[in-house]
Amino acid sequence: MKLAVALVAALAFAALPLLTNSNYIMGIGVSALIFTVAAAALNLIYGYTGLLSFAQLGFWGIGGYASALTVVTFGGTFWWGLVWAAVINAAVALVVGYPTLRTNRHAFVIVTLTFALLVTMIARDWVDLTRGALGIPNLPPPVAFGYEFGTTGRFYWIAWAFSVAMLAFLYALCTSRIGRTLVAIKQNEPLVRAQGISPMPYKLASFALSAAITGAAGGVYSFHLGIIDPLFLDFYFMQTFLIIVIIGGAGSFWGVVVSGIALSALPEVLRFSADFRMIIYGLILVVVMFVMPSGVAGWLRERRLTRLREQLR
């Protein structure tokens, strides 16, 4: 049932460029699709595995820079850029994740946070590679079999195909035995050990996969913008991913997907000044953490359970 709805929704999204000619609306569509993928990747590591990772922002930035540099500096194609974005991020995640995951989840949160800041500083200060604050403008549009994805309408297809593929992969992963193991690690790690499962490879794999997917999403987004500079690593992106996951419900796959689409469109509807919008984001974060800590999906589940209990009584 859910899958049928998701399939219809995916096809409806595919039809967007046929319904409108407005670059503005299709631009929002591209952002919504990519942000949803990045939020779903954060959901894999935070919602399923229970590790709050702020490193997503760093992976997003590394992905963006890796794919831009592959094309501009090393003369590769956009597609190879995405592959490099994913591979480099997975490798970085393993290097950062291994020493950190040996400690406790407190240290993990703080190390990932510092990592995100480090990537921002490198993007700004390693001028020889990243061109510093000027950034890399005029990223060429992707080309496949002689077809140039030059307009927002054409680029939309790439974003659509990318996010459908990634979300399908994440869905398959999260509902598989591996996904259940990850949830078990989050809920009771000693019990998982007692079952003869070593949590470390699962945690590392989930961190690396989440990094690779976030990186590829950053790669697609940088080519959507057509320019990459240190602002690509603004903490705003991390806050957006976090709020999508928390409002949707950490650990709920469809909750995060729905809230990703909805919340990416929301800032466009609420056109306040940037500061005012961020204040509202902060308020939402604080209020949701107190009122419904498991997000809308968790709140709906709770309500359904209480109703069932009342009927039984």
């Binding site: 709050l52 020493p99 480090l118 974060l285």
Partner: protein
């Protein structure tokens, strides 16, 4: 490359003053973690509030340094009390991720509210000391830096004496070492936690007020420092106060030495490289967490 002794000494002295200011922030984080097992993400914003309070108090006091410093510390302690009563008091111990997300929300609200009200234009803060300084041979250190470092040292001395000899401090250590046993002998965790947050906020306010004549004051100034303070808390061992101080002063020195001889990017990367190396070698931090012992 020849190393000029005067230049090296200058870097070293700058490093120590910077490190002591880092330590003020990191100690507050450690204190709160020790008592409540949570991390206050909005700690950098307390520092920023302290710096702004200093910037506004100085013209009122006619550029007199000490009354303005006291006003800034009081203002941040008040902010700490409000934050505790409104948000942190509702958290249970070890709700770590929730504490981070809630205080992250708070930090977003404070930064952008300050930017909305006072704009992002950096402010230059002038004190009675201006750019006067003390001369040691060929080196000149501004009074504001000397006083900042001195005030930090006095604060650490006071904190040590308080944690070690007063009932107020013993209760904090008791909660950090064994929560249940502390409850059994009649210590109220809520009161102790509130005191710890106010105390940490005061230290942070001191750091912010002391930094304001040295650096430009902007709504974002807290964010850059807080990331480093987080790393310091990890390097020194979560909840370990002497560890945080040692790590902070060492980082201040290392950063200044690296900044003096290499490219600036390495200076910023140093803290992260050190943290990862420490986690590889000693996963619990350099100084193993000892339930907030002093001495």
């Amino acid at each position: 490359m020849t190393i000029d002794a005067v230049y090296l000494l200058q870097l070293t002295l700058n490093g120590i003053t910077l490190g002591l200011l880092y330590a003020l922030i990191a100690v507050g984080l450690s204190l709160i973690f020790g008592v409540m097992e949570i991390i206050n993400f909005a700690h950098g914003e307390l520092l920023m509030l302290g710096a702004f309070a200093m910037a506004f108090a100085l013209p009122v006091t006619g550029l007199l340094y000490w009354p303005a410093l006291a006003a800034a510390i009081l203002a941040t302690m008040l902010a700490g009390l409000v934050i505790y009563e409104l948000l942190l008091a509702r958290l249970k111990p070890d709700e770590f991720e929730r504490s981070i997300l809630i205080t992250l929300g708070l930090s977003i609200i404070i930064i952008h509210a300050m930017q909305y009200i006072f704009t992002a234009t950096p402010r230059l803060v002038d004190t009675q000391y201006g750019f006067d300084g003390v001369d040691i041979g060929a080196i000149r250190i501004p009074w504001t830096r000397v006083i900042g470092a001195g005030a930090a040292l006095v604060a650490f001395g006071g904190l040590y004496a308080m944690l070690r000899y007063t009932q107020f401090g013993r209760a904090m250590r008791a909660i950090a070492q064994n929560r249940e046993a502390a409850l059994m002998v009649g210590i109220r965790p809520r009161v102790v936690a509130r005191n710890a947050v106010i105390l940490a906020a005061g230290l942070c306010g001191l750091a912010g007020a002391a930094i304001s004549p040295i650096q430009l004051v902007t709504p974002y100034m807290g964010q850059f420092l807080i990331f480093k303070a987080f790393a310091l808390v990890i390097i020194g061992g979560l909840g370990n106060i002497p560890g945080a101080i040692v790590a902070a002063v060492a980082l201040g020195l290392v950063e200044n030495w690296i900044g003096g001889f290499f490219e600036i990017a390495w200076q910023e990367a140093a803290v992260f490289v050190i943290m990862i190396a420490v986690l590889f070698l000693r996963p619990d931090g350099l100084f193993k967490r000892g339930g907030m012992r002093v001495g």
